[in-house]
């Protein structure tokens, strides 16, 4: 368990550090891409991705920093793409909202709410057809479940018994619109549980708990050939898009945030490591190694060249 918890901590630390550095450097205007920050949801990304095997595939939304790093660990590519450089996999064609690294199992993320969900379902159909044992996980916000295509996709996946994990990262808001102004029902998971799939819902920021629940869920899926719907609550620390806080805007309160901050996933996991007997120095060592790694990636990305202009026309068609 100790080893596992260190691994989970390292991954969350990488995500948190990467985003702190985005906050730090964003004003220099080198990263010309809108940032939908993941701060507050690290436990979901890391817990779920850690439960998946390397060969498994994931899809996401514009809010994908955490899942991209949790799945691929590829911090160099991550920052190269944020800076839009030639050294990035996408050479700056994707940016923060459209990350894609198929070799690392990150199959793409979309800026149109809910639109990656059916693609994930089709990807899992292909895997089932090929009998390659791969699972596909698709991450989306609670707002995405307002879209018709979410229900269409859930229905198809349940009907076809596909190995797909639907992960709803629920922060209660779609931009600034609260659930109460978007949903004509009390409980999403009640409705989803009427479908032929497994539903696991938990109000936790403990990455180890999320990791274990996901593992349990995957076990259920393999026993029954039914999809899995995971629902986790979290609190988005920063504004919807951008690197700042927005508690002065009036749609939510700082008090609420401070309450969530007490059980911040990164902090929680750190405390767990301490309680398990790992001393503060060891943890600080882990953290400084990660910080250094992140800083190196940023330096590399800044120094890298942009791609040629004629790259513009590359990759539209084969």
């Amino acid at each position: 368990m100790k080893g596992l918890n260190i691994e989970l901590y390292k991954k969350m630390c990488l995500v948190r550090k990467a985003e702190e550095m985005i906050q730090y450097y964003y004003s220099e205007d080198g990263m010309k891409t809108p940032m939908h920050m993941s701060m507050g949801e690290e436990a979901i990304a890391v817990g779920v991705c850690h439960a998946l095997k390397a060969k498994d595939q994931i899809f996401g939304t514009y809010r994908s920093h955490a899942i991209y790093l949790a799945k691929t660990q590829n911090i160099n590519d991550f920052f190269a793409e944020m800076y839009g450089k030639d050294t990035a996999l996408l050479k700056g064609k994707g940016g923060s909202m459209h990350m894609c690294n198929p070799d690392g199992g990150f199959m793409g993320s979309s800026g149109i709410v809910a639109s990656a969900i059916p693609v994930a379902v089709g990807a899992s159909f292909a895997n089932k057809m090929s009998k390659n044992g791969k699972y596909v996980a698709v991450f989306f916000g609670d707002g995405a479940t307002n879209e018709g295509v979410f229900w269409e996709s859930l229905n198809a996946a349940c009907l076809m018994k596909l190995p797909v994990l639907f992960i709803c990262e629920d922060n209660g808001f779609a931009v600034h619109t609260p659930k109460s102004e978007r949903e004509g029902y009390e409980s999403l998971t009640d409705i989803v549980s009427k479908f032929n799939c497994h539903v696991i819902s938990e109000e936790t920021t403990d990455v180890e708990v999320i990791y274990n629940l996901t593992q349990d869920g995957i076990k259920l899926m393999s026993d029954t050939s039914m999809p899995l719907f995971l629902h986790f609550r979290y609190y988005r620390y920063l504004e919807h898009v951008g690197i700042c806080e927005d508690y002065e805007a009036g749609y939510r309160s700082r008090e609420e945030y401070l309450k969530w901050l007490e059980r911040d996933p990164v902090k929680l996991q750190r405390e767990k490591l301490l309680a398990s007997g790992i001393n503060d120095m060891e943890i600080k060592n882990i953290e400084s190694v990660i910080t250094e790694k992140v800083m190196k990636s940023i330096t590399k990305a800044k120094e890298a060249p942009f791609c040629r202009n004629d790259e513009l026309f590359e990759g539209v068609l084969v």
């Binding site: 639109s115 379902v121 089709g122 018709g148 996709s153 198809a156 068609l317 084969v318």
Partner: protein, 346 residues
């Protein structure tokens, strides 16, 4: 060579490709039902099983994304819609996802998917079951858009589309389904891109799409008796749109009519006209004329429907006007009529 229908040519192309490549599968509303998409999916479920030939929920949007997901994971899906109008429910996936997935994967992922769509006039089908709209898709970079006219092209282009690593939207006019023509039994491909000269002539060029090729040919036959020699270019592919043959033909004849199986306004005919003006500027004997659907939603009453759709007579009159000819007496002519052919229900 044997002669088979357009519908059978499509069916043969799919069956042969499914036989050849186990990653090909076909799906969509009604694909394995007893009507079999007007017969074009006959025998597939029996031969290849429900795994590779299946029906879907009424979820055009999701099932399009589904095809994309399967395609980027190495399969070759063929998604079928019995009406182009239903594609609009999948517009988000088509325009925001399917078309650009290769680009935003940094060229890493291929999107080998085919979307078969049936267009065409039916039997009082009305404004929600008769659209063509292919130019809308050709407007979007990353989608290939083809519309074969002959049975030979139907088979060859569908095989090309299935083997293509890009998304191809494949428009099939309902009335072409029973047109027969020579089609080789063995699999073969007709390249996506180039147009085809279906009738040689020296006096005027008709650039036509899909069913309008049939009408153009009829018009040409009638006018030939009056000494007018019409050249017909079947466009076949509107994205990527290769205009060489069209330009060559217009430079030869000096006159051009574009007969499109769609609305004229902001449609494919505008793109074609712009290209022709660009490349034939100052070398034409008359301005380009465009023929297409009336700019209204499609009505159902037969006389209004007849007024909505252009046909061979529309083309004949346009040519006469352009060349300054007296109107031909058409009273003894037999034109294509679906009165005797088409009793519904589609």
């Amino acid at each position: 060579m044997r002669s088979i229908t357009y519908c059978d040519a499509l069916n043969e192309a799919i069956a042969q490709e499914m036989e050849r490549d186990s990653s090909v599968f076909i799906y969509g509303l009604g694909v394995p039902d007893h009507k079999r998409i007007f017969g074009s999916t006959n025998g597939l479920v029996e031969r290849f099983g429900k795994e590779r030939c299946f029906d879907t929920p009424l979820s055009e949007d999701a099932m399009t994304g589904f095809g994309l997901g399967a395609a980027i994971n190495g399969k070759r899906p063929i998604h079928v819609h019995i009406r182009a109008d239903f594609l609009l429910l999948a517009m988000n996936q088509l325009a925001n996802m399917v078309s650009s997935y290769r680009y935003f994967s940094g060229g890493k992922l291929k999107v080998p998917m085919v979307i078969r769509v049936i267009i065409g006039r039916g039997w009082g089908q009305g404004h929600q079951h008769s659209k063509s709209m292919y130019s809308i898709f050709a407007h979007i970079p990353g989608l290939k858009v083809v519309l074969p006219t002959t049975p030979y092209d139907a088979k060859g282009m569908l095989i090309s589309a299935i083997r293509d690593d890009n998304p191809v939207i494949f428009f099939e006019h309902r009335w072409l389904y029973w047109q027969a023509g020579e089609v080789p039994e063995k699999p073969y491909t007709v390249p996506i891109g180039p147009a085809n000269i279906t009738r040689k002539g020296k006096d005027i060029t008709i650039v036509s799409t899909s069913w309008m090729n049939v009408e153009a040919l009829k018009a040409a036959e009638i006018l030939a008796r009056n000494g007018v020699d019409v050249e017909i270019v079947d466009v076949r592919t509107i994205a990527p749109f290769e205009d060489d043959l069209i330009v060559e033909s217009v430079l030869k004849t000096g006159h051009c009519i574009i007969a499109d199986n769609d609305w004229v306004e902001c449609g494919f005919s505008a793109e074609a006209a712009a290209r022709i003006y660009d490349k034939c500027f100052g070398r034409m004997k008359s301005p380009i004329e465009r023929v297409g659907f009336a700019f209204t939603p499609c009505p159902t009453a037969r006389h209004l429907e007849n007024a909505f759709y252009p046909n061979a007579i529309t083309i004949i009159r346009a040519i006469e006007e352009k060349l300054g000819l007296e109107p031909t007496d058409l009273s003894g002519e037999e034109f294509y009529s679906h009165e005797n052919r088409f009793k519904g229900p589609f």
